[in-house]
Symmetry: C2
Subunit: 765 residues, 2 copies
């Protein structure tokens, strides 16, 4: 019954270099023909060795737009790129890349000439929450603006329209003495950074940021226009936007309609302006055409966005410490914290809404920590890094590269000495994880920074950051529940009690006896009963107070923050010294890595705009199983359980059960595709990244990675590095069939062919 | 970048009917070409819609050997059958099917002319446990007999060599009045069954059994020779035999080396005989040739064995009751029971070994119950059965089939009345789930049955069953731990307390007050302190005692069993009446089903020898995922965690890490295949079933089903009905490279090409 498959193989693998396993080098098809799936059974297509087949043209690399000219354009064209790379970005001129915008930790893209923007639902969640009212919960119902006048302001959302990316390495280092002490280096660079940004931001509405690349071997200045009048156009109900909730988070198979539409507004003269009735839609320099045919298995795609941080060039020793200390510590603390907030939810039902966001962040962080621990082990990241280090050492010896092999030893020696790591771990989490203490600390720190000249302040605490700090304070109010916050602060005090005495700041008295504990409880009661830091009116005065005035404040939370302030400042100093030292020690080793890798080298992600070139493909999460690259509407319906997080709205179910999905149906899947996978190189910050085809058309939106790829931050793995995207056809189907948002479809140039379907779901105000 | 795939499709689907989705009819390839995976990307083979591709030539049907002549042999030949079906079985003459043997609840197969047998490790577990000693734990170490004299008796294992299968329908029903009351019918048939079996067993060493098919529309008499001198030749350590333990049980991907080798011995004249030094290896009428090339994706295979029970023709109402009452009830009770035994293990570390088997059974039963509940829901078994019933009714009307449509209504009306179901549920579990009470009940029942003429006794309690009953008693000793047993009996008393008063037998006094409970605890203490039923010597006398003598026994456990005896007898009477009624009511409906299905009809499994024709294929457990049909040695190593149940012996790891696995390596997988999947129709009792290729050669051993197929007992699902098998190459590799059992390989005619590997692992005494 077997049939010779030589011909099939010839056909399928024709003329291409095929992938290979982790332990081998890429090899030509001829060899794959010999040892690959040579016997395909009749009526059957199945990968014998999915891991062989899953190694497509690698998606490794997050390329700064600045570096497009370094790439092998011919090779990209052979993979499916159709536009010239210069159309995406030409330094000094811009290009299609300007359709991709930054959204404070997320990415988005313009999809119409009238400032219509698309991003992830989870990126707009905070804004949607803020404009929801008790009688009109937009998270629950979703939202469709029927006409522009119905669009709602999306508070807190700002859009950064990318203008340029400029190499400022020389300007940064000019005048820095070669032998400056580490602290001086760090201070010098921070100061220069502030100067450059201040200079850049002299243009009104310009927001600038500096990307430090390759441990200070290159500095890029990113210039963007900031638009602050952003409005909500369409949001699916949360039950669709995060269908599967925490259960499906970081997982495949996935069925989330994680997208939202916004619109950026400007003054009638197209200048950025605060929200005003008279504002008009922004005309972006570029916007993306929307594909209606969507992606297919094996398609070439591009994922553009602002990836936040990767650690591809960290040493084995550093990753080992993360694996053995940091992630386990984080997992333990977050488990405890999560349990406390769950308990708070049982004790105080009213705490559930304010605590929801933090619970979600903790669950997400916990899964991430576990995924990192598992992934670093499973992908043998440390062993592989050690072997890469060995290869590099050998290469250094053989080429006489002008960097001492000793560079790594020196760097590792420094990395082994980490003073106060347990203390710093707790302090930084306590600052961001509590509400009242965080507010008090912000007020104290802000008063302190304001006593300094603007140019001398800590980055993030300058006058330019005033609005962001105020916004941070008011956002904190939404998630404040006093009794829960008290439980969390109590947990941090417990954790600080358990510190090694060498690390414990002198002013902190651990509760040892029952009497100590009783007193601490009493003190906590008073603290939360009397503090005014969570009262917006009272806080206004505190935000304007001098350090001296704060020192006189009767508010015990302010006094508590003042007590911890020196420890926090010490932590910052330690970081500054370390920053200088690491830059000095890492540079030679990084130079060797860059020279060794040559053209295939790309800098670690650092929140600057990038693009990844990839292929739509599945992967094998383990022996005997294969995750295919598409999920379907059928599969989404099958997951419906009638209760969160697997609860589909009735209108959605009705639309999904129609026989004909028209142009949104994939002919091969015979269904509407929902999510899909590729081997694109993404990380946090890529949420909402547009996925483009070879002609730059929108194919979907990136929104997550698979569990097996959580540890991908430490090293791209062609077998397991997969990102998860919403298929554009799922987006269009939803707008067409569920939201009946035909105006929007028309605006983005999509011909919605109305079908004779029941007129369901006209949500919105 | 896309390439037209028409040619591939033509090539792959050439000339075959392809599968289809659940909701459609099979359709020719031409259509699949149009709507199937028409765009294969370069360098990539992947099913766009795995569920379309997974519908191979269906594996549905467990065919009695008796019925082979009814099958469409030409169609089977086109699928890959190479031998004439008559070579497997010709009524009156036998055939290759005789190489397949029964092993009390399992199946096995002869693989040499010297009586060498292969079956699952889990089928020989009890025997291996019995011959283990504290200083030589064969479960832990595994066992290799170096030479025949080193083979160890395998206590309790008997081999049934299949001789014939004869239609005795006429003999069974001759003389039964057409209008006999239900009880009379049941008693008449039981009595006739005993006569036929007694007649058949007049030949020494002949063991006969009656298969009731299609609710009494056909009776087959199975005649087998029983061999009782069975010895252990090779067993892997349990860490390999049940690698993955309960975690992997019922699951894919799977990596268990679940096989064991035994040898059947007979007297020098080849007559069956009890164990004796002078015995010689049995020369089986047929034995299987062992394949060395193993199976490949899409291969035609046959799975032969003794499937225990399926319920393919039960009505929707009956399945609904199982789904809504029986499985949830079972799940709840087993969860409680499991928790009790786990608690016992914490309290009494010495209880862990005796309780191990029951813990395993409970965990297995619990997974099964959950799988049934999930599977019946997910496969929409009830809705589909209802629709089948509707189709059949329509057909009956249109064809004027001489069976009233009313048959189903009458049957359903009867099925709705189930008296005492809660009581019977508890009583039957209490009888098999406890040790001391089970022993006492067996003694009481045995005494009672012996007071009747042999021909009048309950089946299973005749003189022919004496040895089996004694063996049941002594097997119970091995798993007896008094304190645990007391906890379990106490749980059953609690459960009986909670019965509806209508069902509760009059003699049972529920413990209501604290005082009642205190008294019951005291009574239980005395019960377990003073009973002698678990003392082999004392029990010998009790086994020979008359009912009158037992009535005088001071043993409180005997008295307790005597008190429950009438309730147990009532339960048996209820069953007997129900048996007669169901036979009467089901027959007309079953006749309609049979007429409607015609040639594709096969009787429900009933422990008689059968064969299923199937295809090696994976399946899609859910949207976006695909379970491929092979796992590998590489994948098994990746699962190794260094602790049970994922703990590989060092010698195994060493052998696995060798670069060259010689002839046991699959050229496509580039590795030794461990387990594989097919769409064969199997159920409990198929454990150890040999898997044959089209020429009748051994390709592997069946040992489990996938989780999605647990509910397959109620209906074969071409998309999810998958069984799990050990690949013969995993078996041969283990014997060759780990066990160094080259004598065995030689005996089964396999050329082991010795490689220059380290001489590892020479386990055994």
């Amino acid at each position: 019954m077997r049939t010779p498959a030589l011909f099939t193989c010839l056909f399928i693998f024709s003329g291409l270099l095929c992938g290979c396993r982790e332990r081998c080098e890429p090899r030509p098809c001829a060899q794959v023909r010999e040892s690959g799936p040579a016997q395909l059974p009749p009526g059957f297509i199945e990968p014998c060795r999915p891991e062989l087949l899953s190694v497509q043209q690698s998606g490794e690399g997050m390329w700064p737009w600045q570096d497009l000219s370094r790439l092998d354009e011919a090779s990209l064209r052979s993979r499916g790129l159709e536009l010239p790379l210069s159309d995406f970005w030409t330094p000094g001129q811009g290009g299609l890349a300007q359709a991709v915008v930054g959204l404070r930790g997320c990415t988005g893209a313009f999809i119409s000439e009238h400032g219509l923007l698309i991003t992830n639902h989870h990126c707009a969640l905070g804004a949607i929450q803020k404009i929801s009212r008790a009688d009109q919960n937009l998270l629950e119902s979703g939202f469709v603006a029927r006409g522009r006048s119905a669009e709602l302001p999306a508070p807190g959302v700002t859009v950064l329209v990318f203008r340029s990316q400029r190499d400022v390495t020389l300007e940064m280092s000019r005048g820095l003495p070669a032998d400056a002490p580490d602290l001086d280096t760090a201070v010098f660079l921070r100061s220069r950074e502030k100067e450059l940004i201040a200079e850049c931001e002299k243009t009104p509405s310009m927001r600038c940021s500096l990307s430090r690349e390759n441990d200070g071997l290159r500095f890029l200045l990113n210039e963007s226009t900031e638009l602050t009048d952003v409005r909500l156009v369409y949001a699916p109900p949360e039950s669709l936007g995060s269908f599967g909730g925490e259960i499906d988070n970081w997982r495949w198979p996935r069925h989330a309609l994680d997208f939202t539409l916004l619109r950026a507004y400007v003054a009638p003269d197209q200048k950025p302006a605060a929200h005003a009735e008279t504002n008009v839609p922004f005309s972006p320099p570029h916007h993306l055409e929307v594909s209606t045919s969507g992606p297919a298995v094996g398609d070439f795609i591009m994922v553009a966005g602002t990836p936040y941080r990767t650690s591809r060039y960290r040493t084995a020793l550093e990753i080992r410490r993360l694996h053995e200390w940091f992630y386990p510590r984080r997992e333990a603390l977050m488990s405890r914290w999560l349990a406390i907030l769950e308990r708070a939810g049982e004790l105080y039902p009213e705490a559930r809404i304010p605590n929801a966001t933090m619970l979600r962040r903790l669950a997400n962080g916990l899964t991430n920590a576990r995924g990192q621990i598992e992934g670093i082990a499973k992908n043998r990241v440390i062993a592989r890094r050690l072997s890469e280090e060995e290869t590099l050492r050998t290469w250094i010896r053989s080429t006489r590269f002008p960097v001492s092999e000793k560079a790594l030893e020196e760097l590792n020696r420094h990395l082994e000495e980490v003073p106060f790591q347990d203390l710093d771990f707790l302090l930084s989490l306590m600052e961001t994880g509590t509400s009242a203490y965080a507010a008090a600390y912000l007020l104290v720190k802000w008063a302190h920074e304001r006593s300094l000249p603007d140019a001398k302040r800590t980055p993030g605490w300058q006058e330019r950051d005033r609005a962001a700090l105020l916004s941070r304070l008011s956002t904190g109010d939404l998630s404040y529940h006093a009794a829960s916050d008290r439980m969390v602060l109590s947990m941090f005090l417990d954790e600080l009690d358990a510190l090694d005495p060498d690390q414990r700041p002198a002013h902190h008295r651990p509760a040892v006896t029952d009497e100590d504990r009783r007193r601490r409880e009493e003190w906590l009661d008073t603290l939360f009963r009397t503090t005014t830091v969570m009262d917006p009116t009272a806080r206004q005065a505190l935000f304007a107070a001098t350090p001296e005035a704060l020192a006189q404040s009767p508010d015990p939370m302010i006094q508590f923050a003042l007590a911890w302030f020196p420890a926090m400042q010490d932590m910052e100093s330690r970081r500054l010294v370390d920053e200088g030292a690491l830059m000095r020690l890492r540079r030679p080793w990084m130079q060797a890595i860059m020279a060794f890798r040559g053209r295939s080298f790309y800098p670690d992600a650092n929140a600057s705009p990038r693009v990844s070139f990839a292929t739509v493909t599945g992967y094998s999460p383990e022996d005997g199983t294969w995750h295919g690259p598409f999920t379907t509407l059928r599969g989404m319906l099958a997951k419906h359980r009638g209760r969160a997080p697997f609860e589909l709205p009735a209108a959605f179910i009705e639309a999904a059960q129609q026989e004909h999905h028209g142009p949104w149906m994939d002919p091969h899947l015979e269904d509407v595709p929902i999510n899909f996978l590729s081997n694109a190189d993404t990380t946090g910050g890529n949420s909402g990244s547009p996925v483009l085809d070879g002609r730059g058309r929108l194919l979907g939106l990136n929104f997550d990675r698979v569990y097996e790829n959580i540890a991908g931050d430490f090293g791209y793995n062609p077998l397991r590095s997969r990102n998860i995207m919403v298929d554009v056809r799922a987006i269009l189907w939803t707008l067409d069939r569920v939201a009946q948002a035909h105006d929007i479809l028309q605006e983005i140039g999509v011909q919605a062919k109305p079908q004779a379907v029941t007129n369901t779901a006209t949500r919105g105000p």
